[in-house]
């Protein structure tokens, strides 16, 4: 072991014994990550933990082990590599923009400085998890105030700065936006978050326990099914549980309902942002119809309480499936009508087209995921690249568009609703028979690692668990798709009118709480 300089390879939700996790020196680590990314890989996760690898992992006060997970969609393989750092190491972000937020997070959590990081700022504004340290050498007894930090500034005649938030005009989550403008034109937008930080990753360590699943269901409330499924896959892999096929079917149905609900809500919100009220008001109600279908399955509109390690807690008994399909067909007809109105209305299209363009190249460079990447022509989707659960048997086709603008992000949403609609109907008609929960015990194996990927409605959800010698979480890393995509939104706003910000923002509709954890 450990003499190898090749990263270990794993499958989605496969288990790796920690002794097989290749420990590289920092040079080899940088080369390996750089090589993997230039070979078409994407950084799914990069994080630190206060442990040293070995036959069994050991807590460590001065060494932080960095772990990188890189997804290779074409082969459906995830490469993992690790290295050890102390107080500082050469930042990967110097060459790899994808690492930007990950390295700022590592610095904030563990007090390790990525030297040469081009935009080295806190991410969530909290104290370092290792007492007595601070990567920015801020006073250790002072308070850390959110978003009190430097911001990128453009200087010059007639340049002005617009600051917005944390409390916004609508009922939305808190965040702080700084626009550098020349007249109406935005030169640069910088987004600072952290207001929603509630310490979930810290609290999940040493689990799983009675709260863990509830943390997972509330990482991002609109992605309850997505995150809960990713977590269940972690536990099931670690415990070697076989999940009944029927449970996997029901999870997939709920995941697609979640996608339909959010995409429909977003189509409505996009319509509202250009002042087109018909689609906006229809979609508001239709989104609720999808949520109510989820409630038909499990009693909760967001899917709380449905996915559980080992299966699902609610069966589709009796006429529930027929009822669901009937409602689905009715709602789908409504969404179709509402969406078509958008494409047929010139005043809507004039606002959608060519607004907030994000190029395919930029997406790849920044590691943008999911629907936003597909709208820029990047063909990526966990459901087909790293199939999990019911998607191993069948999956909706990957939908892309080429233009990367607000229109593309609206269009891809609609195409995905169409695809999910067909998929749900098929899955319910061919629902596997049998139980919905395994009776295998929940016993996470010690000294192991799992990377679990799920295609949530925004994009790739990545959970990584590393267990200690007792099978408890030494580290549980959550990467919400928004974590990758916030940077995409900032780039999409360059050279746009500031008045188009709400529209661009909605077209991404990213999660603040999923980012802030």
């Amino acid at each position: 072991m450990m003499s190898d300089t090749k990263p270990a390879r794993m499958k989605n939700a496969g288990v790796l014994a920690l002794k097989d996790l290749t420990l590289l020196n920092i040079r080899e680590f940088e080369d390996s990550v750089t090589g993997s990314l230039s070979a078409g890989g994407r950084l799914c996760a990069l994080f630190g933990m206060p442990y040293r690898l070995g036959n069994s992992i050991m807590p460590s006060a001065d060494v932080i082990t960095l772990v990188a997970a890189i997804g290779h969609g074409r082969e459906g393989v995830i490469e993992v590599a690790a290295t050890e750092v102390k107080d500082s190491y050469p930042a990967l972000t110097r060459h790899l923009p994808q690492a930007n937020c990950f390295e700022r997070e590592i610095a904030e959590q563990w007090g390790v400085r990525p030297a040469g990081h081009p935009w080295f700022k806190p991410l969530r504004f909290h104290r370092c998890y290792r007492p007595g340290r601070d990567a920015w050498t801020r006073p250790l007894d002072g308070e850390i105030l959110p978003c009190v930090t430097d911001f990128f500034r453009v200087e010059g005649d007639e340049i002005h700065e617009v600051a917005v938030g944390p409390v916004h005009a609508g009922i939305i989550e808190p965040g702080h936006f700084r626009f550098q403008c020349h007249g109406e034109r935005v030169f640069h937008l910088e987004i600072a978050l952290g207001y929603q930080h509630r310490g979930v990753e810290r609290a999940v360590t040493k689990g799983p326990d009675k709260r863990t699943l509830h943390y997972m269901e509330t990482l991002a409330g609109d992605t309850t099914v997505g995150h809960a499924t990713a977590y269940c896959q972690v536990i099931e892999a670690l415990s070697g549980m076989d999940v009944p096929a029927r449970a996997e079917d029901i999870r997939a149905v709920a995941l697609e309902l979640e996608r339909c609900a959010n995409h429909t809500g977003d189509l409505g919100a996009l319509a509202a942002d250009v002042g087109f009220l018909p689609t906006s008001s229809y979609c508001g109600a239709l989104r609720g119809d999808f949520l109510n279908m989820t409630a038909l399955i499990c009693g909760n509109r967001f899917g709380r309480g449905l996915a559980r390690p080992g299966g699902v807690s609610f069966d589709m008994d009796g006429s529930r499936g027929d009822d669901l399909v009937e409602r689905l067909e009715r709602t789908f007809r409504g969404v179709k009508g509402a969406a078509e109105l958008l494409w047929e209305t010139p005043s809507v299209m004039a606002r959608f087209e060519d607004t907030g363009r994000l190029s395919k190249r930029m997406c790849r460079e920044l590691g943008v995921v999911g629907m936003a990447a597909r709208a820029s022509g990047v063909e990526m989707d966990v459901r087909s690249e790293f199939p999990f659960g019911a998607y191993r048997i069948s999956r909706p086709p990957v939908r892309t568009w080429f233009s990367g603008d607000v229109y593309a992000r609206a269009r891809v949403r609609w195409m995905e609703i169409e695809a999910s609609y067909e998929f749900i109907r098929q899955r319910i008609r061919g629902l596997s028979k049998g139980p919905v929960m395994t009776d295998a015990p929940l016993e996470p194996s010690p000294d192991s690692m799992v990377v679990s990927l799920v295609e949530g409605w925004r994009g790739e959800i990545c959970h990584v668990a590393i267990t200690d010698q007792d099978g408890r979480f030494a580290r549980y890393k959550v990467v919400d798709p928004s974590f990758h995509n916030w940077m995409g939104l900032q780039m999409a706003l360059r050279d746009q009118q500031i008045s188009d910000f709400p529209l661009c923002n909605k077209s991404f509709n990213l999660s603040y709480c999923g980012h802030d954890l």
Partner: protein, 251 residues
Amino acid sequence: MIRAIAERVRQGKRTISFPKGTPVVPDRLRGLPVIDQARCTPGCSRCVDVCPTGAIGLVGQKVSVDIGKCLFCLDCVAACPGGAIGFSQDFRLASGSREALVYSGGEFRPACALEERTRRILGRSLKLREISAGGCNACEADVNVLGTTVFDLGRFGIQFVASPRHADGILVTGPVTANMRFAVMDTYHAAPPPRIVIAVGACAISGGPYIDHKEVSNGVDALLPVDLYIPGCPPHPLTILDGLLRLLGRL
């Protein structure tokens, strides 16, 4: 244009008749707990052990559920050998008093109305500023839903406004993180009195899933006096609407 009108006709009327009519709720909805004290097994405390937020109290053999902490997750129902705890479909959960949320069966007294004087100031309108302060954004989503054609909040004179200066009070979701404390207080003070405070969701009432984290306050009432608590994780939109109407003395 004709297409748009045809579509309007096809989409139909969506507004529910609540509060006049009784709304249809999902059969698996988890509303007010049902507690059958007689079924509690002496010496057993399994519900208390499994509850993720410490919502269950057991004094002697008397079981109570603090619905201000409850995530309505069914973990206790699965753990209880005697079937002493269950959930009904009763969505009326809001209350003006924090103590009233500790429920041990029997009659539940839903929200009490604001005092006459305050209601006279408000007249027939209530303008609220929403503050999202550290939850999972599901509560916000179900507050937002009240603005759709299904619930049509405007018909009750209730509206969410963009500025606290235009608001009669604030509606808070989330446990109030350390990073949001300042903004919550600022927004509150920017609103003119009587400054009603409404806490929506387990987070805003007690900290919810994040109860006792050092990164959060355990709910809004750690900072401000609360006039109305609306339990749930998240509360069903009907629970929120019912609470708001009761606060205004309309139910």
